[in-house]
């Protein structure tokens, strides 16, 4: 089977699954799957750059996705003027002090010669800096969080459009690349410290850093309300209620002969799908260009043999840092999109199994090192993830129909059907690793 035939067949199969869901069940569900599938595909593209192209084992995807979500809040929500007046300056000053202390620590560590004097200065600077930071910062935070805590209690975002930010409907789209930038910044700092580690140490380090990012998002209420969640994020697409009141839309719907409520929900989802698809296609083209460029060949050379590549004069550490930042930025972009699509930021919803390891399953099943494979793997695995949760219980009722109606086993099996997702994902991953270790679309 040629490569292009294989790609075509796989694309057709994924399209068939999503369209089949639409025809056989309902189009709203199919479009929800498609929208989240497109976002998952972007995440898979990011991870594939890191793992497939450079062999970096990053299991901190969740952290970068969450940072993207944070950017969505910080850019697309309206600012809270009272909170800024109450403690904005002081909080920022506190953060500046914290940053200055860290810069100072690094400078002392690098400039001074090794010895007891350096250790003492480092220790003193750390302790003094920590208390200075907490004194200034805590006061600002307390002031911000006391401003109308049930509704705001945070600084808000940068969307100065009227009507709770709805007038500037394009702000969320701006937030997406900003999410990428935020994730890139974090990735740079992490990469600088952790990329020198061996593969499985890097894995543990990134896993931990992702947890730390989530802990920060859950606790720092002044930033994005923590576990109180930010809801009602502005949308880049029309609202269903507005569409239903729009005479132009209503007459168009009438000509098609569809119920206006259903039509409006589908129209909104289609608009999102269009936006996401544009981003995905652009990123995919860029990733393909990168893969086949001299830079991509250099990356694969480094992945396959670091020592040889270094001997040929390639700066392995720099290249690793570069691709770690780029891949993480793509995950951040996808994370910002997801938060906009959800319309809310809920830090408690970030779970490593769903946001890190599922993306890994997508990449490995799709074919690590193959961009198209990763994208299709993203769509396929996302479909499977939703399908098992959606149809699993029905399937379980059918499968246990032979059992006695009030047997305890039957009840517990039906109850646990939604948990089958993890079982199915693990089995799929293990089967692929065993029988087709290079994925469905192997690297060329």
């Amino acid at each position: 089977m040629t490569d292009s035939l294989r790609t075509g067949l796989f694309t057709g199969f994924v399209a068939l699954l999503i369209l089949g869901t639409g025809f056989l069940d309902n189009w709203n569900l199919a479009l929800v799957i498609l929208n989240y599938g497109l976002i998952s595909a972007i995440m898979a593209l990011g991870v594939n750059l890191q793992w497939g192209l450079a062999g970096l084992f990053n299991v901190g995807v969740m952290g970068f996705v969450a940072l993207g979500g944070l950017a969505s809040v910080l850019i697309s929500m309206p600012p809270v003027a009272e909170a800024w007046a109450a403690g904005g300056g002081r909080t920022l000053l506190g953060l500046a002090i914290g940053a200055a202390v860290i810069v100072g620590l690094v400078a002392v560590y690098k400039r001074m010669t090794k010895g007891r004097a350096r250790n003492i200065i480092l220790l003193l600077l750390t302790v003094a800096g920590f208390f200075a930071f907490r004194t200034v910062f805590d006061g600002g935070v307390a002031a911000i969080e006391s401003v109308n805590p049930s509704l705001t209690g945070y600084l808000g975002g940068l969307n100065f459009g009227g009507d709770a930010g709805r007038d500037w409907w394009w702000m969320p789209i701006i937030a997406w690349p900003v999410g990428g930038l935020l994730a890139a910044g974090a990735a740079w700092a992490i990469g600088k410290t952790a990329l020198g580690l061996r593969s499985d140490y890097l894995a543990i380090a990134t896993l931990g850093i992702a947890e730390i990012i989530i802990a920060v998002l859950k606790n720092e209420n002044w930033m994005s309300r923590g576990v109180l969640n930010v809801t009602g994020l502005p949308r880049p697409v029309p609202y269903e209620t507005d569409l239903q009141a729009d005479p132009g839309f209503l007459s168009a719907v009438q000509d098609l002969g569809v119920d206006p409520t259903t039509a409006s929900t589908i129209a909104v989802k289609l608009a999102y799908a269009g936006l996401f698809a544009v981003f995905l296609v652009v990123l995919l083209i860029l990733a393909q260009r990168a893969l086949h460029s001299p830079w991509g060949r250099m990356m694969r050379a480094i992945r396959d043999n670091e020592v040889a590549a270094e001997a040929m004069g390639k700066d392995v550490t720099r290249r690793h840092l570069q691709i770690f930042v780029i891949g993480s930025a793509i995950c951040g972009l996808a994370g910002a999109m997801m938060t906009t699509l959800d319309g809310q930021m809920t830090p408690a919803a970030y779970q490593p199994l769903r946001f890190t390891f599922l993306v890994w399953v997508m990449v490995i099943v799709g074919g690590s090192g193959n961009n198209i494979g990763a994208v299709l793997g993203g769509l396929l695995i996302w479909w499977l993830w939703v399908a098992v949760g959606e149809y699993g219980p029905d399937l379980m009722i059918w499968a246990t129909s032979g059992l006695h109606a009030d047997s305890a086993l039957k009840a517990s099996l039906i109850d646990s059907a939604p948990q089958m997702r993890f079982l199915v994902m693990g089995t799929v991953l293990l089967l692929i690793l065993r029988f087709s270790p290079r994925g469905i679309l192997p690297e060329k």
């Binding site: 062999g55 084992f57 410290t193 952790a194 580690l197 061996r198 593969s199 499985d200 140490y201 894995a203 543990i204 380090a205 896993l207 931990g208 850093i209 947890e211 730390i212 802990a215 859950k218 606790n219 779970q351 490593p352 199994l353 390891f357 890994w360 399953v361 490995i364 099996l413 109850d415 646990s416 948990q419 089958m420 997702r421 993890f422 079982l423 199915v424 994902m425 693990g426 089995t427 991953l429 293990l430 690793l433 065993r434 270790p437």
Partner: protein
Amino acid sequence: MEFLNGLVFLTNFVIVPALAYGAQLAIGALGVTLVYAILRFSNFAHGDTMAFGTAVTIKVTAVLVGIGVTLGPLPTALLALPVGIAATGLLVLGTDWLVYKFYRVQKAKPVILVIVSLGVMFVLNGLTRVFIGVRDIQFADGARFVITVQQFKAATGLDEGLAIRTTQAITMVTAAITVAALFWFLNKTRTGKSMRAFSDNEDLALLSGIDPDRVVRVTWLIVAALATIAGVLYGLDKSFKAFTYFQLLLPIFAAAIVGGIGNPVGAIAGGFLIAFAEVTVTYPLKKVLTYWLPESMAPEGLVQLLSGDYKFAVSFMILLIVLLFKPTGLFKGQSI
């Protein structure tokens, strides 16, 4: 007196909980470090192996309590523990035969085995959730306290009380027995010695006639026992929830790596180090300092360095610092 009160307060709220938590982490980290030493990969499925073993133990405990068998003041779960260990042992031998063996024979790269263990992690996580559900389960029964605050105050006449829960005492006793048994096995028995030889130099071990399959089988059985014991102790002390066990993976790995991965002594030291750091940094120390410092220097704030949700951050700061400055860990671990 002031000093003693401060010390008792610190013992009650920091030292005893941290000792119990440290013992749990240490047994968990021993499992991770053994897999690393013998099978040479980081087993991401370890947290879920712990969850599975605990889930089986909980089910057996429920049956035992149902037919009226209890251990009196001790938790019934201790009686059910051997069954949990046996079931987990069968499970890990099964996964090794079905999954890991294929890659071992191929001599796959360690990172491939790590990814394979991610798949096993998903499957075990799903199995546990299907088997026992996602609820929070309390399964400690028997007496709640060895010493209560009132008893301690009455006995010593101090203002501050010290309570030791049964689960904390059991954790420490069980951990001591487990660790002693493990070290005796590794250092004194023939099989244990062959395992250490295999870990030090695989080729040399094979040349001297050590059966690699047997070493691997024994390792998995020990790992299953350690995982189940750690899981049950943690569950007795706190509570059982499938997702919490997955999260325990982080401090356990931190403990194993900080101590020097592949080194059993390091795993124990790392476990206690991580536990003490987490508890101390996230507990408000105001009262202790008020007792210990002169009145003029008594702190105004809570002296809680970081809020409790940042406990992962603590283990990972330690992990990062150790990795950056002493990559083989505090005790010399393997570096493959």
